[in-house]
Amino acid sequence: MKNLHMLLVDDETEFLSLVTRRMARRGVEVTSAESGEQALELLENEEFDVVVLDVRMPGMDGIETLRRIKARHPGTEVVLLTGHADTSSAYTGMQLGAFDYMIKPVAFDELFAKIRDAALVSGRA
């Protein structure tokens, strides 16, 4: 299986660097973005196997970012990640086509398994 390339969007820099480090050890290349706007910009120029997106960010929130990603890159699978478990926003996210909705703190192995499943669906794994 080829190496996965993942776009991680989260305004928590500590979380970004932790996940990036651990994913690297599993052969996943991580590009990080600290806002929805930045993520959309990156997606214009590069293809990713999967996007992991924090729901609550300053500026454009995760749900809006998801909406735009799906409108412009429908084949890109997005896993939502949130510190605030809320059934309404989760449901909206799924309806907008998120692959899944995970809750922080998330076990690394679970996150890893989930992005693999998502990448499998996007047909890029």
């Binding site: 299986m1 478990a85 809320d86 059934t87 899944d100």
Partner: protein
């Protein structure tokens, strides 16, 4: 009908010559998508059921949990349910759209239970204290509202002051965008260690301390301060106190969790206000809510700002004895100066017991009061040495005691319950009321034989000499544990479960430890203090004011030795003194709590299963009323879409080739991609096993062939009758009927993928596996259902096979006569071995159900399966099988 089948139909409709490679590729692709959707559906089913099981476990166990956990599990279950609905719709586009509606309505109901109720907002930022009544308690908390009411109805002195309303406090948090951030932090750190708790608390509090007070509130506070200053010749000093809403939750005392700042100059009131609001997230408060099942949203803070009155004497009055509510007595604890040291648990104080009827002073304990708390000329309070002539005299006169008792009884009358009253006697001799609230009594310990027999037992086995004797019973009972000294927060962080906490003072700061402590001993502190209240609430035996406890127990503390605390009789013993130990008090504090209640509300929409019979007409999307219904429906339909909906007769004629191993076999192979050695040749009707290069199929086939199947097992009479009964009652089994049971055995393969669908008579089984170099990719799924024998026997077989698979590290799910087993992430070598095991089971469990009526036979079969599998395993590893086991069975190959 599944899209793959539509494709197959189209494909076949064109006739053999018209088929192109392109179409075959499309067929394969659709089949792969279908397998993938089914796999995701099954995974999601596991996730959802696990979330439901966790929620049920929370409901049952009574261990503490918070809203964050309920939210997370609800979301997990619902989203996994969504995933199942989505994948089912991918397998059969357009067929199951209605399920989205059913699931959405479950989600809406759950959300309604979980959503924080919008609080009614009051436009006032501040309210003057002396105008409050109990009706204001939604904005001011019960404690402050009672002060106002006592002033108005009884003319009791209360300090001049005002309240910053709960609405104003909420607006303050909203103004700084904090509520969501607080929720997020609570979500991500719940259930963590003691260290996690302290860290969370510190983060939350510093966020609030840094926040900005909205200008409207600042102006209103300033107006009140100006009004108060106008009444006083001296520069205004204030006591800034919490008054939380929700402090009146039945049975919950909230003792000492929140912050109070004394003797605050008016220019610092704003900071003190923030500190009090922040104290909602102090470690004691966080731990308390968690253990009592109180939601964060159940507690709203309001803040009282009162004129600081300097006290000649201060203290606490209980209108009943919290340890013996049946006794007809009031208890007064008093010190010279401010009563702060009593509630903080650090003071040695005078104690008086007064009879309720007749108001006679029945007990007097005059302590040696070396220190007293007074206002510091600058800010705050200080301990100063008491005047020598006052150190050993009672701080209250009999007249003052009687006056206090009178006030207490009137307060009790107005508020309709026993009261916990904080009071002072001003320099001018007048009594002022600082605080009053309902007195909390500990839950009565369950009657236990041990407790009753204790005295007798003690007579028969006289106790050894106690290590220490004395002290005040702050919370009843006796308990044993390792002695651990707690002097600092660092000690608190290290405090182990079920140890005996030994501390200098009964500080409220140690309250978070009480959920883990077996008992508490302190050198200072009164039963009127906050820590005592919490100990009683948790049912932790506590012995306070035991002089020299730390020194006296130095040796035990050093060694980490076990001691027994008898709080009732005021004694501490070395080791574990069994006769003293009662059964541990029941601490089911979660049951009936707001959080538990909420969990039950959520479960009502998630857990019940209404769709129990898949053959019933009511088994339909519109009847899915709970999450569990949706899961059940999706799982059933997913299995049908994957395996049962349509016989594969078309596929068989079109692209399958019969497997030959010397002779033609009853197995057909469909090469999805790259699974056969020889490139596909349109004329070939058969494929030799030697040409198969699909790794998982080869391993599976090894297992299937390893031990020759001896045909249907010898059936006892009952088994045979059971089979005949089923045949008659099931039209699908009638001779020549076009039934799914007639379908033959198929391998669908690629280089690293294999799916086997096999039916043998009534027995229906599938294997799906990926076996490659990357362990992360590898998995094997084995499932079967059905059988020919009666229900009981089929269930017994499923259990037997499930046990075997569990021994091989499979996750096994049994549902009646169906078995679903899965293992993922094993390396290629392990996968190879596992597929042999599965292959063996595919062949040898076919008709086992028929002999499962007889327990001796079950045991024999179990034994045989395990022996065979051990041999297969040994053979794969190159170890010769154990010789001469006396059976006539032979291992193929070599």
């Amino acid at each position: 009908m599944g899209s793959a089948f539509l494709a197959i139909r189209q494909f076949l409709g064109r006739g053999r010559r018209q088929r192109t490679r392109e179409q075959l590729a499309r067929l394969r692709e659709e089949y792969r998508v279908r397998c993938r959707s089914f796999r995701l559906l099954v995974k999601a089913n596991h996730e959802a059921l696990a979330a439901l099981a966790d929620l049920e476990e929370l409901r049952r166990a009574g261990r503490p949990f918070g809203m964050a956990r309920i939210r997370a599990l609800s979301v997990r279950g619902l989203m996994a349910g969504f995933q199942m609905v989505r994948q089912l719709n991918r397998m059969a586009p357009g067929t199951y759209e209605e399920l989205f509606t059913s699931l959405a309505s479950v989600q809406t109901s759950v959300d309604a239970v979980l959503r924080r109720p919008a609080a009614e907002s009051c436009p006032d930022n501040v309210l003057p204290l002396d105008r409050l009544t109990r009706q204001c308690s939604r904005e001011t908390g019960g404690k402050l509202a009672r002060l106002g009411e006592a002033r108005q109805r009884m003319g009791i002195h209360i300090p001049e002051g005002f309240v910053i309303t709960a609405s104003a406090c909420r607006r303050f948090l909203d103004h700084n965008d904090l509520p969501q951030e607080i929720d997020r932090l609570l979500q991500t750190t719940e259930n963590s260690s003691m260290a996690g708790l302290y860290e969370l608390s510190s983060t939350l509090r510093s966020m609030i301390l840094r926040a900005e007070v909205p200008s409207g509130l600042r102006v209103d506070m300033q107006d009140q301060l100006t009004r108060m200053q106008a009444l006083s010749p001296d520069p205004l000093r204030l006591a800034v106190r919490s008054s939380a809403l929700g402090e009146d939750v039945a049975g919950a005392s909230f003792a000492g969790q929140f912050h109070t700042e004394l003797n605050v100059p008016s220019e610092h009131v704003e900071d003190a206000f923030k500190a009090v609001v922040a104290s909602k997230y102090g470690p004691a408060a966080l731990a308390y809510r968690f253990h009592r099942g109180i939601r964060d949203s159940d507690v709203d803070m309001s803040v009282g700002c009162m004129e600081m009155v300097s006290a000649r004497v201060g203290g606490v009055l209980y209108t009943r004895d919290p340890l013996h509510p049946e006794q007809d007595c009031l208890h007064i604890s008093a010190v010279f100066g401010l009563p702060q040291a009593i509630v903080d648990g650090s003071a040695v104080c005078d104690r008086f017991v007064v009879s309720r009827c007749g108001r006679r002073i029945v007990e007097r304990h005059v302590a040696h009061k070396e220190w007293r708390t007074v206002c510091h000329p600058g800010e705050g309070t200080v301990l100063e040495e008491a005047v020598a002539s006052e150190q050993d005299v009672p701080c209250l006169t009999d007249g003052q005691i009687v006056a206090l008792v009178g006030m207490g009884l009137r307060l009790e009358e107005i508020f309709g319950a026993a009261q916990d009253v904080e009071w002072i006697i001003r320099e001018d001799g007048a009594i002022a009321l600082l605080q009053c609230r309902d007195l909390h009594f500990p839950a009565l310990p369950e009657e236990s034989d041990a407790a009753e027999s204790a005295p007798e037992e003690l007579e028969r086995h006289p106790l050894r000499e106690p290590l220490l004797r004395g002290g005040v019973t702050a919370s009843a009972g006796a308990a044993a544990g390792v002695a651990v000294a707690v002097r600092s927060d660092a000690d608190a962080l290290r405090f182990p479960e079920q140890a005996v906490l030994v501390a200098r003072s009964a500080r409220p700061r140690w309250a978070p430890l009480l959920s883990r402590a077996a008992a508490v001993i302190t050198e200072h502190g009164a039963s009127a203090g906050h820590l005592a209240s919490v100990a009683r609430e948790y049912g932790v035996p506590a012995l306070f004011s035991l002089p020299g406890a730390l020194d006296g127990l130095a040796e035990q503390l050093d060694r980490g030795a076990v001691i027994t605390v008898d709080a009732d009789r005021g004694a501490v013993y070395a080791g574990k003194v069994e006769p003293l130990l009662r059964r541990p008090p029941v601490r089911g504090l979660m049951f009936g709590s707001p959080v538990h209640h909420c969990l039950e509300g959520v479960l009502e929409h998630l857990a019940p299963l209404n769709l129990d019979n898949p053959d019933a007409r009511s088994f339909a999307p519109e009847n899915c009323r709970t999450l569990h219904d949706v899961l059940r429906y999706c799982h059933e339909m997913g299995v049908r879409e994957m395996f049962c909906m349509e016989p594969r007769s078309g596929l068989e004629k079109g692209v399958s080739r019969r497997l030959v191993d010397g002779v033609p076999l009853q197995y057909w192979v469909v090469d999805l991609e790259d699974g056969l050695e020889a490139p596909e040749d349109s004329d070939l009707r058969t494929v030799d096993i030697a040409d198969v290069r699909c790794r998982p199929m080869l391993a599976l086939w090894e297992g299937m062939q390893a031990v020759v199947w001896r045909g249907p097992p010898a059936v006892n009479a009952g088994g045979l009758v059971s089979v005949m009964v089923r045949s008659v009652s099931d039209p699908g089994l009638a001779e020549g009927a076009a039934s799914p049971y007639a379908v033959r055995n198929y391998f669908l393969i690629s280089r690293e993928y294999c799916s086997l669908q096999s039916r043998f008579g009534y027995h229906f089984c599938t294997v799906e596996a990926v076996l490659g170099q990357d362990p992360e990719e590898n998995y094997v799924i084995f499932q079967f259902k059905g059988g020919a024998a009666d229900w009981e026997r089929r269930i017994r077989r499923a259990r037997l096979v499930g046990d075997v698979l569990e021994d091989y590290g499979f996750l096994v799910e049994l549902k009646e006569d169906a078995l679903y087993a899965r293992r993922e992430g094993a390396d290629a070598r392990t996968m190879d071995a596992l597929l042999r095991v599965v292959g063996y089971l595919v062949v040898h469990t076919r008709q086992l159900d028929m002999i499962m009526g007889d327990s001796a036979e079950v045991a024999r079969v179990d034994e045989q399966i395990r022996t065979d599998l051990a041999e297969i395993g040994a053979r794969a590893a190159g170890i010769p099988p154990p010789a001469g086991d006396g059976t006539s069975r032979r291992i193929k190959g070599d």
